[in-house]
Symmetry: C2
Subunit: 288 residues, 2 copies
Amino acid sequence: MIVERLAVIGVGLIGGSFALALKQAGAVGEVVGVGRKPASVEQARARGLIDRAGDWSEAGQADCVLLAMPVGETETVLRALEPHLTARTIVTDAGSTKSGVVATARAALGAKWRNFVPGHPIAGSEQSGPDAARADLYRGRKVVLTPDADTDPHALAIVKALWQAVGAEPELLDAATHDRVFAAVSHLPHLAAYALVDELAQRADRDTFFRFAASGFRDFTRIAGSSPEMWRDIALANRDALLGELNAYVAALQTLSTAVAAADGTALLEIFSRARDARAGWIDTQDL
Amino acid sequence: MIVERLAVIGVGLIGGSFALALKQAGAVGEVVGVGRKPASVEQARARGLIDRAGDWSEAGQADCVLLAMPVGETETVLRALEPHLTARTIVTDAGSTKSGVVATARAALGAKWRNFVPGHPIAGSEQSGPDAARADLYRGRKVVLTPDADTDPHALAIVKALWQAVGAEPELLDAATHDRVFAAVSHLPHLAAYALVDELAQRADRDTFFRFAASGFRDFTRIAGSSPEMWRDIALANRDALLGELNAYVAALQTLSTAVAAADGTALLEIFSRARDARAGWIDTQDL
């Protein structure tokens, strides 16, 4: 057992899967779930993701608290939790952006900041809620932790151990690098998929288009099935890095547009080949 | 049996799967394969996709000829084939763009144009070549046929019957509408995926980015694994419609960029929600 009592704030896909996997691994004694919607908390309990519902006071006295609600609620949750946190309670989170979470947690937690280990598991699904939770969600997936010089080494070691217990592979990055990297490989693709679908959906003759969309379209737009609220929060929380990526992407599309307009087959072949080769090289390193 | 002898020009994924499925369905007596690379033709024969290798003369005397080589080679192939075509030989194609093919075929075939049925099966894979061919490639997939007022009804009926024999569902569109629709739902997504991967691949610190790319990135960029030569040809053949789609997409991304820059969460939520709902509505109609 790594911790006696775990509290999970947000009992959906992310928090529920973490709790369930830890329970199955015998890495935790008891899991207390805190959520805004009583029905979701009860659903999580009925599925065995958590042992019981709890409140801020019980969460604050746990050995470890995972924040797994939408990242936009981080400040509200930390302000509510802070008065109840013991000096030894470790807090970690699962937010998709890190610089904003770090700034918020530093401001909200004061001296208890040293027990906060910012985290981001690289796993998910366009499904959400307690019903989507599963014990193998994190198996073989990376989890990025972004501690800084003030982070308590013991807190970091416990959080690493918990993620390893659910099958994840911890990696350390600084928060700014994390946000720059994920703006490019995750946040931009989500916005690009939403933009493509919405642009079509707004056409008067959209049915003709959707009628002939096939598997390439399905896969390209899969992430446009993700939670709009979650991705609004992520886009706002990682605004600067995301704007840089959007600009770079628009420039890349304009380069393609220029080549198409000029019927420059050589330039198109070069871009397409470089992309195909880079993706093939990447996929060889993956176990997705 | 629908036709006694079928000729397939290009014995890769598209032509090989068509031939194999027709043979398995007993819809064709003999399949003759024509290809630029003797090794591929032999591979197709060894896999049983075709019965034997043939030349332009044998292809021209078949009951039906499927053009299944890259769309950029359509003119060369039709010029080579035309002198050998009998008055009753039906020709069809599987090219991803149709207006250019129609113009080329009209010019190359003269009076024999009426036996040409332009087609586009909405099926494929980022795999290519005879080894990727499979008999179920077209099962449950649409095939768009774009005949015009001159097209011989018998030729159209035979081509429809062949596609139905391989499990596909024929749909009729005019060539211009076809090209406009596929520019939006297929050609643009391919260019958008290539652009995203290439933009990352050209960065000096690309390894840090690819290291953390995960399943969302994998699916969004799956089509960037497609044949660069094929997609160069398609982009050039459908230039005007594609440029319109690229412009519309860049405008949609710029709208998102403006909303992110202004921290306009309401606008972002509206766009993301509309896209999520439109995609969910579309996926409900699909059997992909």
